[in-house]
Protein backbone atom coordinates (compact mmCIF):
# COMPACT_ATOMS: atom_id res chain seq x y z
CA UNK A 1 0.00 0.00 0.00
CA UNK A 2 1.06 3.57 -0.61
CA UNK A 3 0.80 5.84 2.42
CA UNK A 4 1.35 9.60 2.47
CA UNK A 5 2.24 11.28 5.77
CA UNK A 6 1.82 15.05 6.00
CA UNK A 7 4.21 16.62 8.45
CA UNK A 8 4.81 20.17 9.62
CA UNK A 9 7.96 21.80 10.87
CA UNK A 10 7.24 23.73 14.08
CA UNK A 11 9.33 25.60 16.67
CA UNK A 12 10.56 23.35 19.48
CA UNK A 13 8.19 22.99 22.43
CA UNK A 14 10.71 24.60 24.80
CA UNK A 15 10.92 27.79 22.74
CA UNK A 16 9.35 30.85 24.33
CA UNK A 17 7.92 32.72 21.31
CA UNK A 18 8.59 36.43 21.15
CA UNK A 19 6.28 38.67 19.13
CA UNK A 20 7.93 40.46 16.20
CA UNK A 21 7.72 44.18 15.22
CA UNK A 22 4.56 43.71 13.14
CA UNK A 23 2.81 42.14 16.19
CA UNK A 24 1.31 39.60 13.79
CA UNK A 25 4.16 37.12 13.79
CA UNK A 26 6.88 35.71 16.03
CA UNK A 27 10.64 36.24 15.88
CA UNK A 28 11.46 33.07 13.94
CA UNK A 29 15.15 33.93 13.86
CA UNK A 30 15.25 33.08 17.59
CA UNK A 31 13.60 29.68 17.13
CA UNK A 32 14.94 26.23 16.49
CA UNK A 33 12.60 23.84 14.73
CA UNK A 34 11.52 20.20 14.92
CA UNK A 35 8.96 17.79 13.50
CA UNK A 36 5.47 18.47 14.89
CA UNK A 37 5.03 15.79 17.57
CA UNK A 38 1.65 14.34 16.49
CA UNK A 39 3.00 14.17 12.91
CA UNK A 40 5.97 12.13 14.19
CA UNK A 41 3.45 9.59 15.58
CA UNK A 42 1.65 9.60 12.20
CA UNK A 43 4.96 8.85 10.46
CA UNK A 44 5.72 6.02 12.90
CA UNK A 45 2.27 4.52 12.30
CA UNK A 46 2.87 4.64 8.54
CA UNK A 47 6.25 2.92 8.93
CA UNK A 48 4.63 0.18 11.07
CA UNK A 49 1.87 -0.33 8.47
CA UNK A 50 4.49 -0.63 5.72
CA UNK A 51 6.33 -3.26 7.76
CA UNK A 52 3.09 -5.22 8.08
CA UNK A 53 1.59 -4.75 4.61
CA UNK A 54 4.49 -3.69 2.39
CA UNK A 55 4.43 -0.68 0.10
CA UNK A 56 5.75 2.83 0.22
CA UNK A 57 5.73 5.78 2.65
CA UNK A 58 5.77 9.24 1.07
CA UNK A 59 6.25 12.22 3.41
CA UNK A 60 4.90 15.62 2.41
CA UNK A 61 5.13 19.11 3.78
CA UNK A 62 3.93 22.52 2.63
CA UNK A 63 6.26 25.11 4.08
CA UNK A 64 9.22 27.42 3.56
CA UNK A 65 12.69 26.20 2.55
CA UNK A 66 13.66 25.48 6.19
CA UNK A 67 10.94 22.80 6.37
CA UNK A 68 13.00 20.42 4.20
CA UNK A 69 14.89 19.56 7.41
CA UNK A 70 11.88 17.61 8.79
CA UNK A 71 11.51 15.77 5.47
CA UNK A 72 15.18 14.75 5.71
CA UNK A 73 14.54 13.59 9.29
CA UNK A 74 11.51 11.55 8.15
CA UNK A 75 13.55 9.95 5.36
CA UNK A 76 16.23 9.07 7.92
CA UNK A 77 13.59 7.37 10.08
CA UNK A 78 12.60 5.23 7.09
CA UNK A 79 10.24 7.07 4.73
CA UNK A 80 10.91 6.21 1.06
CA UNK A 81 10.63 9.61 -0.60
CA UNK A 82 9.41 13.13 0.05
CA UNK A 83 7.40 15.94 -1.52
CA UNK A 84 8.00 19.55 -0.51
CA UNK A 85 5.57 22.26 -1.57
CA UNK A 86 8.04 25.06 -1.05
CA UNK A 87 7.08 28.69 -0.69
CA UNK A 88 8.13 31.24 1.93
CA UNK A 89 4.52 32.47 2.19
CA UNK A 90 3.52 29.06 3.58
CA UNK A 91 5.07 29.92 6.95
CA UNK A 92 2.23 32.35 7.72
CA UNK A 93 -0.92 31.02 6.09
CA UNK A 94 -3.90 29.16 7.53
CA UNK A 95 -4.88 25.48 7.32
CA UNK A 96 -7.18 26.24 4.39
CA UNK A 97 -4.21 27.23 2.19
CA UNK A 98 -1.86 24.51 3.48
CA UNK A 99 -4.44 21.76 2.94
CA UNK A 100 -5.12 23.04 -0.59
CA UNK A 101 -1.40 23.04 -1.39
CA UNK A 102 -0.95 19.50 -0.01
CA UNK A 103 -4.00 18.26 -1.94
CA UNK A 104 -2.60 19.57 -5.23
CA UNK A 105 0.77 17.96 -4.50
CA UNK A 106 -0.51 14.44 -3.68
CA UNK A 107 -3.65 14.19 -5.84
CA UNK A 108 -1.94 12.14 -8.59
CA UNK A 109 -0.13 9.80 -6.18
CA UNK A 110 -2.73 6.97 -6.11
CA UNK A 111 -2.61 6.79 -2.32
CA UNK A 112 -4.28 4.15 -0.17
CA UNK A 113 -3.96 6.07 3.07
CA UNK A 114 -3.07 9.61 4.12
CA UNK A 115 -1.92 10.13 7.72
CA UNK A 116 -1.16 13.32 9.62
CA UNK A 117 -1.02 14.49 13.23
CA UNK A 118 -4.26 15.63 14.82
CA UNK A 119 -2.99 19.20 15.22
CA UNK A 120 0.16 21.29 15.14
CA UNK A 121 2.09 22.36 18.21
CA UNK A 122 2.30 25.97 16.94
CA UNK A 123 -1.03 27.13 15.47
CA UNK A 124 -3.04 24.18 16.79
CA UNK A 125 -5.99 24.73 14.45
CA UNK A 126 -6.60 20.96 14.11
CA UNK A 127 -7.98 21.52 10.61
CA UNK A 128 -5.35 20.69 7.96
CA UNK A 129 -5.91 16.93 7.84
CA UNK A 130 -9.69 17.17 7.79
CA UNK A 131 -9.72 19.83 5.05
CA UNK A 132 -7.22 17.75 3.06
CA UNK A 133 -9.62 14.77 3.22
CA UNK A 134 -12.41 16.95 1.85
CA UNK A 135 -10.17 18.30 -0.94
CA UNK A 136 -9.15 14.75 -1.92
CA UNK A 137 -12.70 13.46 -1.62
CA UNK A 138 -11.67 10.90 1.04
CA UNK A 139 -13.51 9.66 4.12
CA UNK A 140 -11.66 10.50 7.32
CA UNK A 141 -11.38 9.85 11.02
CA UNK A 142 -9.77 12.14 13.60
CA UNK A 143 -7.90 11.55 16.88
CA UNK A 144 -7.00 7.98 15.96
CA UNK A 145 -5.39 5.62 18.49
CA UNK A 146 -5.18 2.37 16.48
CA UNK A 147 -5.20 1.47 12.78
CA UNK A 148 -6.16 -1.92 11.32
CA UNK A 149 -5.85 -2.15 7.54
CA UNK A 150 -8.14 -4.74 5.96
CA UNK A 151 -8.68 -5.79 2.35
CA UNK A 152 -10.22 -2.62 0.95
CA UNK A 153 -11.10 -0.83 4.16
CA UNK A 154 -9.56 0.44 7.35
CA UNK A 155 -10.83 0.02 10.91
CA UNK A 156 -9.61 2.68 13.33
CA UNK A 157 -9.98 3.32 17.05
CA UNK A 158 -11.09 6.91 17.59
CA UNK A 159 -10.59 8.62 20.91
CA UNK A 160 -13.76 10.27 22.23
CA UNK A 161 -13.88 12.58 25.23
CA UNK A 162 -13.54 11.51 28.87
CA UNK A 163 -11.81 8.14 28.39
CA UNK A 164 -14.22 6.74 25.78
CA UNK A 165 -13.21 5.15 22.46
CA UNK A 166 -14.98 3.93 19.34
CA UNK A 167 -14.01 1.72 16.40
CA UNK A 168 -14.98 3.09 12.99
CA UNK A 169 -14.63 1.36 9.66
CA UNK A 170 -14.37 3.12 6.30
CA UNK A 171 -13.34 2.27 2.75
CA UNK A 172 -9.83 2.92 1.44
CA UNK A 173 -8.41 5.30 0.42
CA UNK A 174 -8.98 7.29 3.61
CA UNK A 175 -7.36 10.03 5.69
CA UNK A 176 -6.62 9.62 9.40
CA UNK A 177 -5.42 12.21 11.92
CA UNK A 178 -3.24 10.50 14.49
CA UNK A 179 -3.18 11.14 18.24
CA UNK A 180 0.14 11.38 20.11
CA UNK A 181 0.98 8.23 22.03
CA UNK A 182 -0.50 5.76 19.48
CA UNK A 183 2.87 3.98 19.21
CA UNK A 184 6.50 4.13 20.35
CA UNK A 185 8.53 6.54 18.22
CA UNK A 186 11.69 5.28 16.56
CA UNK A 187 14.61 7.57 16.00
CA UNK A 188 16.92 7.78 13.03
CA UNK A 189 19.92 5.47 13.01
CA UNK A 190 23.26 6.44 11.49
CA UNK A 191 22.51 4.02 8.67
CA UNK A 192 19.14 5.69 8.16
CA UNK A 193 20.71 9.14 8.07
CA UNK A 194 23.21 7.99 5.45
CA UNK A 195 20.49 6.29 3.37
CA UNK A 196 18.31 9.43 3.53
CA UNK A 197 20.95 11.40 1.63
CA UNK A 198 20.22 9.34 -1.47
CA UNK A 199 16.45 9.60 -1.22
CA UNK A 200 14.42 11.96 -3.36
CA UNK A 201 12.80 15.19 -2.12
CA UNK A 202 10.60 16.37 -4.95
CA UNK A 203 10.06 20.15 -4.89
CA UNK A 204 6.65 21.41 -5.93
CA UNK A 205 5.90 25.04 -6.66
CA UNK A 206 2.86 26.51 -4.96
CA UNK A 207 0.14 26.97 -7.56
CA UNK A 208 -0.25 30.62 -8.46
CA UNK A 209 -2.48 32.25 -7.57
CA UNK A 210 -2.65 30.28 -4.32
CA UNK A 211 -5.95 30.15 -2.46
CA UNK A 212 -6.51 33.18 -0.23
CA UNK A 213 -6.31 32.46 3.51
CA UNK A 214 -9.65 32.45 5.31
CA UNK A 215 -8.25 33.21 8.76
CA UNK A 216 -5.86 36.13 9.17
CA UNK A 217 -3.92 37.07 12.32
CA UNK A 218 -4.69 40.66 13.30
CA UNK A 219 -2.38 40.76 16.30
CA UNK A 220 -0.56 38.56 18.78
CA UNK A 221 -0.37 39.07 22.51
CA UNK A 222 0.77 37.29 25.62
CA UNK A 223 -2.15 35.78 27.57
CA UNK A 224 -3.66 37.93 30.25
CA UNK A 225 -3.69 36.40 33.67
CA UNK A 226 -7.13 35.36 34.80
CA UNK A 227 -5.93 34.90 38.35
CA UNK A 228 -3.61 36.85 40.59
CA UNK A 229 -0.75 34.41 41.05
CA UNK A 230 1.37 34.80 44.15
CA UNK A 231 4.93 33.82 43.36
CA UNK A 232 7.00 32.40 46.19
CA UNK A 233 10.66 33.18 45.87
CA UNK A 234 13.92 32.56 47.69
CA UNK A 235 15.85 29.35 48.18
CA UNK A 236 13.95 26.06 47.69
CA UNK A 237 13.42 25.71 51.43
CA UNK A 238 12.29 29.33 51.81
CA UNK A 239 9.85 28.97 48.89
CA UNK A 240 8.57 25.66 50.30
CA UNK A 241 8.09 27.21 53.74
CA UNK A 242 6.24 30.19 52.23
CA UNK A 243 4.00 27.92 50.20
CA UNK A 244 3.02 25.71 53.15
CA UNK A 245 2.17 28.79 55.21
CA UNK A 246 -0.03 30.17 52.40
CA UNK A 247 -1.80 26.85 51.90
CA UNK A 248 -2.59 26.69 55.64
CA UNK A 249 -3.42 30.27 56.52
CA UNK A 250 -4.73 31.79 53.31
CA UNK A 251 -6.09 29.01 51.07
CA UNK A 252 -6.94 26.85 54.12
CA UNK A 253 -6.48 23.64 52.19
CA UNK A 254 -4.06 22.14 54.71
CA UNK A 255 -4.81 21.48 58.35
Amino acid sequence: MRIAVCIKQVPTREWQPRIDGTRRGVREQDASFEMNEPDAYALEEALCLREKHGGEVVVCTAGPARASQVLREALARGADRAIHVEDERLSSVDAFVVAGALADAVREEKLDLVLTGLQSDDQGAAQTGVILAERLGLPHATIVMDVQVQESSVRVKRELEGGWFQWVQMPLPALLTIQSGINQLRYATLKGIMAAKKKEIRKVVLAAPAAAPRVRVVSLDVPRKTKQTQMLTGSPSEAAKGLVRKLKDEARVLA
Binding site: Q16, D122, V130, L160
Partner: protein, 321 residues
Protein backbone atom coordinates in the same frame (compact mmCIF):
# COMPACT_ATOMS: atom_id res chain seq x y z
CA UNK B 1 -28.31 35.99 12.15
CA UNK B 2 -26.06 33.78 14.23
CA UNK B 3 -26.54 30.06 14.48
CA UNK B 4 -25.42 27.93 17.41
CA UNK B 5 -24.96 24.27 16.50
CA UNK B 6 -25.59 22.48 19.78
CA UNK B 7 -24.13 19.06 20.55
CA UNK B 8 -26.28 16.32 21.98
CA UNK B 9 -26.04 12.60 22.56
CA UNK B 10 -29.28 10.58 22.70
CA UNK B 11 -31.30 13.64 23.67
CA UNK B 12 -28.85 14.82 26.34
CA UNK B 13 -27.42 18.25 25.61
CA UNK B 14 -23.61 18.60 25.89
CA UNK B 15 -23.04 21.20 28.60
CA UNK B 16 -20.73 23.15 26.27
CA UNK B 17 -23.77 23.94 24.11
CA UNK B 18 -24.92 26.48 26.72
CA UNK B 19 -21.44 28.00 26.72
CA UNK B 20 -21.71 28.50 22.95
CA UNK B 21 -25.11 30.18 23.41
CA UNK B 22 -23.40 32.62 25.79
CA UNK B 23 -20.65 33.28 23.22
CA UNK B 24 -23.21 33.75 20.42
CA UNK B 25 -25.20 36.23 22.51
CA UNK B 26 -22.01 38.22 23.09
CA UNK B 27 -21.19 38.22 19.36
CA UNK B 28 -24.75 38.98 18.24
CA UNK B 29 -25.39 42.50 19.54
CA UNK B 30 -28.84 43.31 18.07
CA UNK B 31 -28.86 40.37 15.67
CA UNK B 32 -30.97 37.33 16.42
CA UNK B 33 -29.42 34.06 17.63
CA UNK B 34 -30.93 30.78 16.47
CA UNK B 35 -29.97 27.31 17.68
CA UNK B 36 -29.69 24.12 15.66
CA UNK B 37 -30.02 20.72 17.33
CA UNK B 38 -28.95 17.75 15.23
CA UNK B 39 -29.40 14.02 15.79
CA UNK B 40 -31.86 11.14 15.79
CA UNK B 41 -34.88 12.24 17.84
CA UNK B 42 -33.06 15.04 19.71
CA UNK B 43 -36.38 16.51 21.00
CA UNK B 44 -35.32 16.52 24.65
CA UNK B 45 -32.15 18.51 23.91
CA UNK B 46 -34.13 20.91 21.71
CA UNK B 47 -36.63 21.46 24.48
CA UNK B 48 -33.85 22.26 26.98
CA UNK B 49 -32.25 24.69 24.56
CA UNK B 50 -35.57 26.44 23.88
CA UNK B 51 -35.23 27.91 27.39
CA UNK B 52 -32.39 30.08 26.07
CA UNK B 53 -33.02 33.62 24.79
CA UNK B 54 -32.89 32.51 21.16
CA UNK B 55 -35.26 33.38 18.31
CA UNK B 56 -35.89 29.75 17.41
CA UNK B 57 -34.55 26.23 17.83
CA UNK B 58 -34.24 24.33 14.56
CA UNK B 59 -34.25 20.55 14.80
CA UNK B 60 -32.56 18.33 12.24
CA UNK B 61 -33.94 14.88 12.99
CA UNK B 62 -32.95 11.78 11.04
CA UNK B 63 -32.21 8.18 12.05
CA UNK B 64 -29.12 8.46 9.82
CA UNK B 65 -27.62 10.99 12.28
CA UNK B 66 -27.23 8.34 15.02
CA UNK B 67 -24.53 7.20 15.51
CA UNK B 68 -22.55 10.29 14.62
CA UNK B 69 -20.64 10.24 11.32
CA UNK B 70 -18.84 13.17 9.68
CA UNK B 71 -20.47 12.41 6.30
CA UNK B 72 -24.05 12.57 7.63
CA UNK B 73 -23.43 15.60 9.86
CA UNK B 74 -21.71 17.53 7.06
CA UNK B 75 -24.49 16.79 4.56
CA UNK B 76 -27.25 17.70 7.03
CA UNK B 77 -25.66 20.93 8.28
CA UNK B 78 -24.74 21.98 4.75
CA UNK B 79 -28.47 21.89 3.87
CA UNK B 80 -29.59 23.58 7.10
CA UNK B 81 -27.10 26.42 6.64
CA UNK B 82 -28.26 26.96 3.05
CA UNK B 83 -31.79 27.38 4.38
CA UNK B 84 -31.03 29.51 7.46
CA UNK B 85 -28.35 31.75 5.82
CA UNK B 86 -26.52 32.77 9.02
CA UNK B 87 -23.61 35.24 9.16
CA UNK B 88 -21.82 33.10 11.76
CA UNK B 89 -22.05 29.49 12.85
CA UNK B 90 -20.79 28.83 16.38
CA UNK B 91 -20.01 25.35 17.71
CA UNK B 92 -18.47 23.88 20.87
CA UNK B 93 -14.82 22.87 20.28
CA UNK B 94 -15.51 19.24 21.13
CA UNK B 95 -13.87 16.17 19.60
CA UNK B 96 -16.99 15.78 17.46
CA UNK B 97 -16.83 19.35 16.13
CA UNK B 98 -13.14 18.85 15.37
CA UNK B 99 -14.15 15.84 13.28
CA UNK B 100 -16.77 17.46 11.01
CA UNK B 101 -16.55 21.28 11.18
CA UNK B 102 -13.40 21.62 8.99
CA UNK B 103 -15.10 19.41 6.36
CA UNK B 104 -18.24 21.52 6.44
CA UNK B 105 -16.38 24.84 6.21
CA UNK B 106 -14.09 23.53 3.46
CA UNK B 107 -17.02 22.19 1.43
CA UNK B 108 -18.53 25.69 1.51
CA UNK B 109 -15.08 27.30 0.98
CA UNK B 110 -15.62 29.29 4.19
CA UNK B 111 -13.30 30.15 7.05
CA UNK B 112 -13.30 28.33 10.39
CA UNK B 113 -11.69 29.67 13.57
CA UNK B 114 -11.12 26.84 16.03
CA UNK B 115 -10.64 26.81 19.81
CA UNK B 116 -11.83 30.40 20.28
CA UNK B 117 -11.56 31.77 23.86
CA UNK B 118 -12.87 35.30 23.35
CA UNK B 119 -14.76 37.51 20.90
CA UNK B 120 -14.45 41.20 20.01
CA UNK B 121 -17.94 41.90 18.61
CA UNK B 122 -18.63 44.54 15.95
CA UNK B 123 -19.25 44.92 12.22
CA UNK B 124 -16.07 42.98 11.56
CA UNK B 125 -15.74 40.85 14.68
CA UNK B 126 -12.43 39.29 15.65
CA UNK B 127 -11.77 36.17 17.67
CA UNK B 128 -9.12 35.29 20.24
CA UNK B 129 -7.50 31.86 20.20
CA UNK B 130 -4.43 30.35 21.88
CA UNK B 131 -1.37 29.51 19.78
CA UNK B 132 2.07 28.06 20.58
CA UNK B 133 0.68 25.72 23.25
CA UNK B 134 -1.13 28.62 24.93
CA UNK B 135 1.99 30.75 25.22
CA UNK B 136 0.47 33.39 22.94
CA UNK B 137 -3.05 34.59 22.15
CA UNK B 138 -3.81 35.41 18.53
CA UNK B 139 -6.56 37.84 17.55
CA UNK B 140 -7.83 36.65 14.18
CA UNK B 141 -10.27 37.92 11.55
CA UNK B 142 -12.15 35.69 9.13
CA UNK B 143 -11.88 36.61 5.43
CA UNK B 144 -14.18 35.82 2.53
CA UNK B 145 -17.89 35.18 2.25
CA UNK B 146 -20.17 34.33 5.15
CA UNK B 147 -21.08 32.26 6.98
CA UNK B 148 -17.95 32.26 9.09
CA UNK B 149 -17.49 29.28 11.39
CA UNK B 150 -16.17 29.54 14.94
CA UNK B 151 -15.64 26.77 17.49
CA UNK B 152 -15.59 27.87 21.14
CA UNK B 153 -13.16 26.31 23.60
CA UNK B 154 -14.91 24.32 26.32
CA UNK B 155 -15.01 26.34 29.53
CA UNK B 156 -14.12 29.66 27.85
CA UNK B 157 -17.66 30.95 28.45
CA UNK B 158 -19.95 30.25 31.36
CA UNK B 159 -23.04 28.27 30.42
CA UNK B 160 -25.00 29.74 33.32
CA UNK B 161 -24.39 33.26 31.96
CA UNK B 162 -26.30 32.47 28.75
CA UNK B 163 -29.46 34.61 28.76
CA UNK B 164 -32.68 32.67 29.23
CA UNK B 165 -35.88 33.70 27.45
CA UNK B 166 -39.07 34.82 29.24
CA UNK B 167 -40.96 32.18 27.26
CA UNK B 168 -39.73 29.07 25.48
CA UNK B 169 -38.45 29.69 21.96
CA UNK B 170 -40.40 28.09 19.11
CA UNK B 171 -39.04 24.73 17.91
CA UNK B 172 -38.99 24.25 14.11
CA UNK B 173 -38.05 21.30 11.98
CA UNK B 174 -35.46 21.62 9.23
CA UNK B 175 -36.06 18.92 6.64
CA UNK B 176 -32.88 17.53 5.14
CA UNK B 177 -32.42 14.72 2.66
CA UNK B 178 -29.71 12.23 3.56
CA UNK B 179 -28.52 9.27 1.50
CA UNK B 180 -27.54 6.27 3.61
CA UNK B 181 -25.27 4.92 0.87
CA UNK B 182 -23.26 8.18 0.90
CA UNK B 183 -22.24 7.67 4.55
CA UNK B 184 -18.80 6.08 4.29
CA UNK B 185 -17.93 5.77 7.98
CA UNK B 186 -19.38 2.80 9.88
CA UNK B 187 -19.02 3.41 13.64
CA UNK B 188 -19.27 0.70 16.30
CA UNK B 189 -20.50 1.16 19.88
CA UNK B 190 -18.39 3.49 22.07
CA UNK B 191 -16.54 1.76 24.91
CA UNK B 192 -14.24 2.47 27.84
CA UNK B 193 -10.83 0.84 27.87
CA UNK B 194 -10.90 -0.40 31.44
CA UNK B 195 -13.11 0.25 34.40
CA UNK B 196 -11.70 3.43 35.89
CA UNK B 197 -10.25 2.06 39.11
CA UNK B 198 -9.13 5.50 40.20
CA UNK B 199 -11.86 8.11 40.38
CA UNK B 200 -9.85 11.32 40.46
CA UNK B 201 -13.00 13.42 40.20
CA UNK B 202 -13.72 12.71 43.87
CA UNK B 203 -10.19 13.50 45.11
CA UNK B 204 -9.83 16.39 47.55
CA UNK B 205 -6.15 16.84 46.78
CA UNK B 206 -4.18 15.97 43.67
CA UNK B 207 -0.47 16.04 42.86
CA UNK B 208 -0.01 15.96 39.08
CA UNK B 209 3.18 15.48 37.08
CA UNK B 210 4.06 16.59 33.56
CA UNK B 211 6.96 16.46 31.14
CA UNK B 212 9.16 18.35 33.63
CA UNK B 213 9.53 15.16 35.72
CA UNK B 214 11.89 14.04 32.93
CA UNK B 215 12.26 10.33 33.75
CA UNK B 216 10.18 7.47 35.09
CA UNK B 217 12.37 7.01 38.16
CA UNK B 218 11.46 10.55 39.31
CA UNK B 219 7.76 9.64 39.58
CA UNK B 220 8.59 8.30 43.05
CA UNK B 221 9.40 11.83 44.21
CA UNK B 222 5.93 13.04 43.18
CA UNK B 223 4.45 9.96 44.84
CA UNK B 224 6.14 10.84 48.11
CA UNK B 225 4.76 14.37 47.95
CA UNK B 226 1.28 12.98 47.21
CA UNK B 227 1.54 10.63 50.19
CA UNK B 228 2.69 13.44 52.47
CA UNK B 229 -0.23 15.61 51.37
CA UNK B 230 -2.77 12.77 51.44
CA UNK B 231 -3.29 13.40 47.73
CA UNK B 232 -3.98 11.28 44.67
CA UNK B 233 -1.29 11.11 42.01
CA UNK B 234 -2.25 12.25 38.50
CA UNK B 235 -0.46 13.19 35.30
CA UNK B 236 -0.67 15.06 32.03
CA UNK B 237 -1.01 13.13 28.80
CA UNK B 238 2.69 12.71 27.81
CA UNK B 239 3.41 10.91 31.09
CA UNK B 240 0.65 8.36 30.47
CA UNK B 241 1.63 8.03 26.79
CA UNK B 242 5.13 7.10 27.95
CA UNK B 243 3.64 4.49 30.26
CA UNK B 244 5.15 6.09 33.37
CA UNK B 245 1.69 6.19 34.96
CA UNK B 246 -1.47 4.32 33.89
CA UNK B 247 -3.95 6.08 31.58
CA UNK B 248 -6.54 6.09 34.38
CA UNK B 249 -4.46 8.76 36.15
CA UNK B 250 -4.57 11.15 33.21
CA UNK B 251 -6.18 14.55 33.71
CA UNK B 252 -7.31 16.59 30.71
CA UNK B 253 -9.55 16.55 27.66
CA UNK B 254 -8.75 12.92 26.88
CA UNK B 255 -8.64 11.88 30.54
CA UNK B 256 -10.54 12.78 33.68
CA UNK B 257 -11.95 16.16 34.68
CA UNK B 258 -11.16 17.00 38.29
CA UNK B 259 -12.09 19.71 40.77
CA UNK B 260 -10.12 19.09 43.98
CA UNK B 261 -9.59 21.62 46.75
CA UNK B 262 -5.84 21.52 46.08
CA UNK B 263 -4.08 20.78 42.79
CA UNK B 264 -0.28 20.75 42.76
CA UNK B 265 1.13 20.81 39.20
CA UNK B 266 4.74 19.61 39.00
CA UNK B 267 6.57 20.32 35.75
CA UNK B 268 3.30 20.81 33.88
CA UNK B 269 3.47 23.56 31.27
CA UNK B 270 -0.28 24.10 31.18
CA UNK B 271 -1.21 23.11 27.63
CA UNK B 272 -4.91 23.65 27.11
CA UNK B 273 -5.61 19.91 26.74
CA UNK B 274 -4.51 19.52 30.35
CA UNK B 275 -5.96 22.74 31.72
CA UNK B 276 -9.53 21.99 30.62
CA UNK B 277 -9.42 18.99 32.94
CA UNK B 278 -8.29 20.80 36.10
CA UNK B 279 -9.07 24.49 36.01
CA UNK B 280 -12.05 23.92 38.26
CA UNK B 281 -9.65 23.17 41.15
CA UNK B 282 -10.14 25.58 44.05
CA UNK B 283 -6.46 26.20 44.79
CA UNK B 284 -3.81 25.58 42.14
CA UNK B 285 -0.10 25.41 42.94
CA UNK B 286 2.38 25.37 40.03
CA UNK B 287 6.04 24.43 40.29
CA UNK B 288 7.90 24.84 37.01
CA UNK B 289 11.36 25.86 35.86
CA UNK B 290 9.91 28.02 33.07
CA UNK B 291 8.57 31.33 34.43
CA UNK B 292 6.60 31.83 31.18
CA UNK B 293 4.78 28.48 31.38
CA UNK B 294 1.02 29.02 30.83
CA UNK B 295 0.25 27.06 34.02
CA UNK B 296 1.21 30.17 36.01
CA UNK B 297 -1.71 32.06 34.43
CA UNK B 298 -4.20 29.90 36.26
CA UNK B 299 -2.15 29.15 39.37
CA UNK B 300 -2.94 30.73 42.74
CA UNK B 301 0.57 30.07 44.01
CA UNK B 302 3.67 29.58 41.91
CA UNK B 303 7.29 28.66 42.43
CA UNK B 304 9.73 29.08 39.55
CA UNK B 305 12.62 26.69 39.91
CA UNK B 306 13.97 23.17 39.78
CA UNK B 307 11.27 20.79 41.01
CA UNK B 308 13.98 18.30 42.05
CA UNK B 309 15.10 20.84 44.67
CA UNK B 310 11.72 22.34 45.55
CA UNK B 311 9.69 19.13 45.98
CA UNK B 312 12.12 17.59 48.56
CA UNK B 313 12.10 20.92 50.43
CA UNK B 314 8.30 20.92 50.34
CA UNK B 315 8.11 17.34 51.65
CA UNK B 316 10.52 18.26 54.48
CA UNK B 317 8.44 21.33 55.34
CA UNK B 318 5.18 19.36 55.37
CA UNK B 319 6.70 16.65 57.57
CA UNK B 320 7.67 19.25 60.19
CA UNK B 321 4.04 19.97 60.96
Amino acid sequence: MIVVVAEQQRGKLHRASWEVVAAAQELAGDQPVDAVVIGANPAEAASELSQAAVRAVHVIDSPLLEPYTPDAYTAALDQAIAELKPSHVLLPHTYRTRDFAPTLAARLNRGLVTDCVGIKPGDKPTFLRPTYQGKLIAEVAVEGDVPHFVSIQIGAYRGDSAKRGSTAAPINTVVVSLDASAIREKPEEPFQEAKQAVDLSQAERIVAVGRGIKAQEHIALAETLAKTLGAQLAASRPICDSGWLPMERQVGSSGQTVAPKLYVALGISGAIQHVVGMKGARTIVAINKDADAPIFEIADYGIVGDLFEIVPALIAELEKT
